[in-house]
Symmetry: C3
Subunit: 346 residues, 3 copies
Amino acid sequence: MSMKLSALAEKLGLEYTGADREISGVNTLEKAGPDDLSFLVNPKYLPQLEITKAGCVLTSGSYAEKVPCALVSANVYMDLARVVDVFARPQGCLTGIHELAFIHPDAQVDPSATVHPFAFVGAGAVIGAETVLFAGVYVGEETVIGSKCILYPNCVVMGGLTVGDRVILQPGAVLGGDGYGYAQTPLGHMKIPQIGTVSIEDDVEVGSNTAIDRAALDVTRVRRGTKIDNLVQVGHNVDIGENCLIIGQTGIGGSTVIGNGVVLAGQTGVPDNVKIGDGAMVAAQSGILSDVEPGSRMAGSPAINAKDYFRAVGVCTPKLPELFKRVKKLEKELAALLAAGGASDE
Amino acid sequence: MSMKLSALAEKLGLEYTGADREISGVNTLEKAGPDDLSFLVNPKYLPQLEITKAGCVLTSGSYAEKVPCALVSANVYMDLARVVDVFARPQGCLTGIHELAFIHPDAQVDPSATVHPFAFVGAGAVIGAETVLFAGVYVGEETVIGSKCILYPNCVVMGGLTVGDRVILQPGAVLGGDGYGYAQTPLGHMKIPQIGTVSIEDDVEVGSNTAIDRAALDVTRVRRGTKIDNLVQVGHNVDIGENCLIIGQTGIGGSTVIGNGVVLAGQTGVPDNVKIGDGAMVAAQSGILSDVEPGSRMAGSPAINAKDYFRAVGVCTPKLPELFKRVKKLEKELAALLAAGGASDE
Amino acid sequence: MSMKLSALAEKLGLEYTGADREISGVNTLEKAGPDDLSFLVNPKYLPQLEITKAGCVLTSGSYAEKVPCALVSANVYMDLARVVDVFARPQGCLTGIHELAFIHPDAQVDPSATVHPFAFVGAGAVIGAETVLFAGVYVGEETVIGSKCILYPNCVVMGGLTVGDRVILQPGAVLGGDGYGYAQTPLGHMKIPQIGTVSIEDDVEVGSNTAIDRAALDVTRVRRGTKIDNLVQVGHNVDIGENCLIIGQTGIGGSTVIGNGVVLAGQTGVPDNVKIGDGAMVAAQSGILSDVEPGSRMAGSPAINAKDYFRAVGVCTPKLPELFKRVKKLEKELAALLAAGGASDE
């Protein structure tokens, strides 16, 4: 894949500076060669502009004049996504429906879909147009998958679920495993069968080996545009809003409701039955204990306001040994003073 | 599936109030319709009793009179499990042993078992009566799986393991991957082959993408009735007692021994070689450092007694910036006093 | 499998004490029988030497005289690895390339490799000599896997990756899922296609259900001899050095660089874009915030020097409620003194 810079600029509706040239790929400032386009957003990397061998640099107007050839953008990350998309080659080396796939006679697979060997499509399942099921994917009975989805190898979508359009499931992601629900009885933990479902809306992405449980009753929901990273757990009956970022190894307990545009950083824990308001941002490794107001910034375990947390735990906690010494010194001095004062009272 | 309330009540040995009616499903108070049964345990949801459209509510005697039609229970969660079980439809759309499964000629698969396409059963493996192996399941050589087990898609049970009766493995669960054992040598980390096994006893459930390692030597054991959630790690040679609840993303280090009835809440970390006594409960995100007494309540990282933890970290830590100010004020005042006193000594 | 102790000793180049005998396995001091070899490293287990039924004990010279029959070693763990290797039987019950595997006509699979049913090898992929692909393994197009590798069931190695020799991937491990990269746009999070790759060098091991993401551009790298445990997340463009130990459920953010010989204990979190110096060791559940110097010992979240952490958080934090009381007492006493002093000033 290779194209003229002028053609690329036209395709994306961007201006460029410098001479036209052939562009055959995208790479970092450090690794790019004369046929590659690179990019600059973070001023931290400005020194690399001096030494990069990149044929052209995608950057904002202010930096464009620092290089002989620039593709000028008002939103570099967004245009980077668009540029890379031009050069990206999708994964996979087969088309059509492979004879080693299992497709139940009562399933409906769109003729434009791709189904790799060892994929399984159950009775009554529906697979939309241009959707790709890689090897080892399981789609259970009555599950409906929209169009232009990609289900990477060994994903599991259990029966009775709904998946929107343009949804991407990374390898090993599991949707619709049973929620964790047991009744305590004198004979031990009795399983409460999990008869609810999971609904994944349009443009959601789910990371490798992430697990999203089916509801006990009703539905576990991930709304439009939310991106979930690897190894995340989403409990039964959770409702995650639109355009959230749920980062690696985060766990979300049952029946919790998460608003729109929420960011949960890596390894965060959210318990059962709380509400996280729209636009809240939670720092990595936080442990939420109760409802979080919209727009909050939270950190710590148990999580509190992030500023307070970094002051209390980041600044003060390491100084505790010294504080204990200071208090001891105060106690001694005051005791001495009181003893002296006591003496003088006599 | 639909049945008379009277028939349902009789089947479960429960009384009902109000007129008999047809029940065709179970749902939440909020979502249930006139043909559904719903339930109430938590008084927090009492207001929903006023507005629910549920045809009948499963609840305890004290709340039963608040609705026109109640199914009366002394243990609502337990009877909810039993009611839902009546209406639950098991996952899966095939029966029998599918021709696209691989079953080694030396394996023994009970004729009442179900084996889906792309499941693998190794040499000498035994699959018990009415057990279901979904697509992509791997059962290694010489592994013995009991009766009425469900192995959901893409579970892996490596060779030489033992799995009891009525065990449920959610999708992507891995039993018997190698434990993490290396000898430090001048040439780097040398793998210690892991030649032990895993034993999963009756009525255990293992969550999606959870990993339970085989022992170095000897056996990693999960005892009867224990329920393990998603994305949990159980290290080699661990011994987990009966009826424990091991909640999502918890990690348990090698050779640790966990008693009966222990609860480890989400994202807890337990190190190698410790003992957790019977009935201990550990709060979410705790980091255990050493042995835990039976019946303890632990929290924090490092974990201490839960009450002490919430007082120290939950209450005091956020007030540290203020405490530092108070100590500074004391120091100033005392210094001034001493200076004055010193002066008066002259 | 069974052999004379004399033959075993000769094979390993070790001396033994006591009478020659038949050895047929390896087990713990507690479980070993008269035909088993056991081992002792930790003096904590010395009392078990008195009661073990092991036919022979692998141990260092100082303990060897305490048992009637010893295999004497200067590095017991290393020789244990070597002994166990003699008795270990590799997993798997098939040889050759199974007819139910899918191998693309343009792939190259070494004739000495083993490919189980339902394994998938894409176009242009290369599988080296004596490498074993278990059932359900996916190897994407153009991916190159070296020799003597073991890919356990349901591992996924996406297209375009490079895997060295003697690499072991435990069940469900995923290499080359997309990194987590999105551009923020007025229309929501726009996916930045991840067109980089993953390189796994020789002698690396990757645990069950661990996920190592492909780079956005360029490469995510795990260098020679590094051992990664279960359920670990490695973000895009991470570079992990040689001979590291990355323990269960640790998460490493994008573009982070980890030196050689680093140890990250369980459930550690490392953010994007930091550097961890050679030989650094990080305690379990730590949350790294910024660069870590070579040879450091870190602990806590946010992580600080481990000694300081255990003093501040391990020792001082639990005493905070008492400290608050002491400060309050000081305040009262000083206020009383000042009041009295104030009075005396009149």
